[in-house]
């Protein structure tokens, strides 16, 4: 590029030189050689890069600021470039004293009467331009490099700082402080989006961990109790003087206890499997009211024996895309729960209503009773794992029934909630109808 512009400059100087030559030739035609000599002399005295010469036919200088032209410049018309020695200081436009050897671009013209007119420029000026341009470029390049280093440095530092803050947070989390979160700035840039999703993930993990901890605590309590009972029964049976009949009874009791334990374990495993999400290969389209009908029919005699009327309310066909076994299990849990607690109510005609219907885009499965119900403040907790509300602590059951129902509802991207049935409890599962 620098070379290109120096050629450009040389070309424009050539044009200028040619223009001056033409003017001087015209002057000679109009006013004669003497006027030309005067003008050349004036021009030659001017400071600057101009080279002016007027000589006679024998090559002797009449006026001008350069005399030692090469032979061909003095004999041939046209453009020449050559080295020459400067007789007079020609300060160039960047302040360098060019006394000594110069480099010239000149145009030579033979005038009438054998006079030779030479007009030119000291190319040092051009070289100066070149060096200015080069220097400009150099400064530019250095500037760009420095600037990009600085901005790059700043950006890198900012990025590193953000990354550091993320890795700091993860370090703290790994050392056990689960409540730590990645700081979010107001910039809302990629880092903030990353931080937000990281934090969401951490929230989920923390929830799972605290859930796990709670479950572990409850498992410890609810499984240790029957294990202790079992152990002491076996121990008692081993004591001396226990009749064979009592030993048999103790063994049977041990088996019953362990069956209950197995049941609790199975329920726990099922909940965690469902919460982890069973593969959707087990999903199929079926009619929920058909399942509800089966369950009502299955439990109707049990309810009747407990003095409770089990009423089924279904629409013709409520198709759903779900896991049939799990929906059935959820319904069973709700019905068993209702039978267990409906009995305690004050209502004269104790009843359980099992209804399946469609509401907006949801399938709604509802089991309501008119029994004792659950106080409002306890309803949320009742769905937690192992929670048997104080009053029912002594009742049989694992305290896992409603947690499984909730897990099943969630697996199907639905909701499970409890409401007041005034009196009694209304348990509702809502599952989106659409295929998931």
């Amino acid at each position: 590029m620098a070379y290109q512009s120096s050629i450009q400059i040389q070309r424009s100087q050539t044009v200028e030189i040619e223009r001056e030559i033409r003017e001087l030739v015209r002057l000679e035609k109009v006013r004669g050689i003497r006027s030309v000599a005067n003008v050349v002399q004036k021009l030659a005295r001017r400071a600057g890069p101009g080279i002016y010469y007027l000589g006679d036919e024998k090559g002797r200088k009449l006026v001008g600021n350069v005399s030692n032209f090469p032979m061909e410049v003095l004999t041939q018309n046209g453009i020449h470039t050559f080295n020459y020695s400067i007789e007079q200081a020609l300060p160039d436009n960047i302040g360098n004293n060019t006394k000594g050897v110069g480099y010239a671009l000149v145009s030579s013209r033979k005038l009438k009467g054998g006079f030779r007119l030479i007009v030119g420029r000291d190319i040092v000026e051009r070289r100066g331009y070149t060096s200015i341009i080069f220097r400009g470029f150099l400064f530019g390049v250095i500037g760009i490099v420095i600037l990009s280093l600085i901005t790059g440095g700043i950006t890198a530092k900012r990025v590193l700082k953000r990354i550091d803050s993320i890795s700091d947070t993860t370090d703290k989390i790994m050392s056990g402080n689960m409540s730590q979160r990645v700081p979010i700035t107001k910039r809302n840039d990629e880092f903030d989006r990353l931080a937000t999703s990281l934090n969401d993930m951490l929230d989920r993990i923390e929830n799972l961990m605290s859930g796990l901890k709670e479950v572990t605590d409850n498992v410890a309590h609810d499984l240790k109790t029957p294990l202790t009972r079992m152990r002491s029964k076996a121990e008692a049976a081993l004591r001396k003087g226990v009749s064979a009949k009592d030993q048999r009874a103790a063994l049977q009791a041990t088996i019953d206890e362990s069956d209950q334990l197995i049941r609790t374990f199975n329920a726990l495993l099922m909940i965690s499997r469902v919460e982890a999400g069973t593969p959707s290969g087990s999903f199929a389209s079926f009619d929920v009211s058909e399942v509800a009908k089966d369950m009502a029919e299955l439990y109707e005699p049990v309810a009747e024996d407990a003095g409770i009327e089990l009423i089924l309310k279904t629409e013709k066909e409520v198709s759903i895309y779900a896991n049939r076994e799990l929906i059935g299990q959820a319904l069973v849990n709700l019905i068993e729960n209702a039978i267990k607690y409906a009995g305690g109510g004050k209502a004269k005609n104790k009843k359980i209503v099992l209804s399946v219907g469609e509401e907006n885009k949801n399938v709604r499965i509802e089991v309501s009773d008119n029994g004792v119900g659950i106080p409002k403040e306890d309803r949320e907790r009742a769905v937690e794992r192992f929670v048997r509300l104080e009053k029912s602590r002594t009742e049989a059951g694992s305290g896992l029934g409603l947690s499984l129902v909730r897990a099943v509802a969630k697996l199907h991207k639905g909701e499970f909630y409890l409401q007041d049935n005034k009196p009694g409890l209304r348990a509702i599962i809502e599952i989106p109808k659409d295929k998931q």
């Binding site: 049941r263 593969p279 290969g281 049990v302 059951g397 029934g401």
Partner: protein, 222 residues
């Protein structure tokens, strides 16, 4: 009945073999998948009891190989994995029944005996008769000592299943699985209530009991 048990837990296996012997069955034991497969394909058994997770070769692949060789010996799968999907995989591979560990021996025995009977040709039978009780699958008629008994559709299916397996113990979970087609574990005595209703229709007021409760196991018609 000749039974092959493929199970790597030796203690559980020896207990099971002993219990099967006491129940009057001849049982062989293989402790790993390869041996088990070799025994199953070289000898004739009435029922195979195969643990799902075995060293050297897993239970599912044994069943798949046997089925690929047109060996249709009934298979009961034992597994610690008891979820719906596990059951489905097991049955799809060619297993005939699926039992989750830990199980009651009575449950296992009842299922094994029913499986062995399944391979015998009474599958297509349409008329059952036990004592004075008869059930006709085509006309859907049930009679006791010549008297017509009216049953609800589900009661009919319940009795049908029991009569089909008369002389065999049928457990509560087997009834729930086969009559209702659900695999959950009810907390209440839901099956017992249905059975007592059925009993009041087929046994009450007649001479001699046909529907028996087997303590700690289930029910039997004989």
């Amino acid at each position: 009945m000749k039974i092959l048990l493929i199970e790597d837990d030796r203690e559980a296996a020896s207990y099971l073999i002993q219990a099967l012997d006491e129940a009057g069955h001849v049982s062989h034991h293989a402790a790993d998948g390869e041996t088990g497969y070799a025994m199953a394909s070289s000898m004739d058994y009435d029922v195979l009891i195969i643990d799902r997770m075995l060293p050297r070769r897993d239970g599912i692949s044994i069943i798949e190989s046997l089925r690929a060789e047109d060996d249709n010996t009934p298979v009961l799968i034992l597994s610690a994995l008891g979820e719906v999907d596990d059951r489905v995989t097991g049955l799809r591979a060619g297993g005939d029944d699926y039992l989750t560990k830990p199980y009651a021996f009575t449950e296992l025995l009842a299922r094994v005996e029913v499986l062995a009977r399944r391979s015998s040709p009474n599958e297509g039978e349409t008329h059952f008769e036990v004592g004075g009780l008869s059930l006709d699958r085509l006309s859907r008629k049930v009679e006791r000592d010549g008297e017509n008994i009216l049953l609800q559709p589900r009661e009919f299916r319940l009795l049908e299943y029991l009569m089909k397996h008369s002389g065999q113990v049928v457990t509560r979970t087997m009834l729930l699985e086969n009559v209702w087609d659900y695999h959950f574990d009810p907390q209440t005595n839901v099956i017992d209530v249905h059975m007592s209703r059925l009993r009041s229709k087929i046994d009450k007021g007649y001479k001699g009991q046909i529907l028996h409760t087997i303590r700690g196991a289930g029910y039997m018609i004989k």
